[in-house]
């Protein structure tokens, strides 16, 4: 089955700094979803990308899908303390979603 690897595992930033997490696969992905899980919470769906080279923005968050559809990234501009949590990428194939192990973001005020 399709597997996705996320890097880095952890990222510590000062409030106001930017943050990027990467999701990589050795195979072509049909789609990629991004989720955010706050400490002690559950995954919350952020966005889905399906087209090669697709770029979507949600306020300070920018999501990209690679041209070859083998990687994706989530970039947060000017982090805030409310951005803390673990960001997961996932790929869904025939109803089965495979999640990466996530990147945990901590923000120092």
């Amino acid at each position: 089955g399709q597997q996705v690897m996320q890097i880095p595992q952890y990222q510590h930033v000062q409030e106001g700094e930017d943050f990027t997490t990467y999701c990589n696969s050795s195979t072509t992905l049909s789609n990629i979803q991004w989720y955010k899980q706050r400490p002690g919470g559950h995954p919350v769906f952020l966005i889905q990308l399906v087209k090669s080279g697709e770029v979507k923005k949600q306020k300070r968050l920018t999501f990209q899908f690679g041209e070859a559809k083998k990687n994706s990234s989530l970039h947060i501009t000017a982090t805030q303390t409310t951005d803390v949590g673990t960001y997961f990428c996932a790929v869904t194939n025939a109803g089965k979603s495979t999640f990466g192990d996530g990147t945990t973001l901590t923000v120092k005020p």
Binding site: N31, Q33, Y35, G41, H42, P43, V44, F45, L46, I47, Q48, V50, F88, A90, T92, A94, G95, K96, S97, T98, F99, G100, D101, G102
Partner: protein, 113 residues
């Protein structure tokens, strides 16, 4: 907001026992998927139910079984509990055939002692 509801929120069981976890999907959703999330890891797919049938299954032993009812709610059953079954069990709902993200419930924290 009729989001995904799961019960119970926390559960402590002894090795060898059996457990049943319950999930009600978001209003309008007809598909339920179950995930196991160990500490520090991403959710691992257990199985998916649609039209009261198991449609997809992940790499979990037969000790893990499920059911979906006509009202789309679902149960996850785990038999012969092992210490390694301790995890957060997440239920996610969606509308079958609609390629979009899942709506997750808050999960059931299962501890096996």
């Amino acid at each position: 907001d009729a989001g995904v509801t799961q019960s119970p929120t926390h559960l402590i069981k002894t090795r060898g026992q059996q457990v049943t976890l319950r999930c009600s999907p978001k209003s309008g959703h007809d598909t339920v998927s179950w995930y196991q999330q160990a500490l520090g890891q991403g959710p691992q797919f257990i199985f998916q139910y649609y039209e009261e049938e198991e449609r997809q299954r992940g790499n979990f032993p037969d000790r893990f079984s499920g059911h979906q009812f006509p009202n789309y709610s679902s149960e996850l059953n785990v038999n012969a509990l092992l210490l390694g079954d301790s995890a957060l069990y997440l239920c996610a709902s969606s509308f079958f055939g609609l390629a979009h993200g899942y709506t997750f419930g808050s999960g059931t924290r299962l501890t096996v002692v």
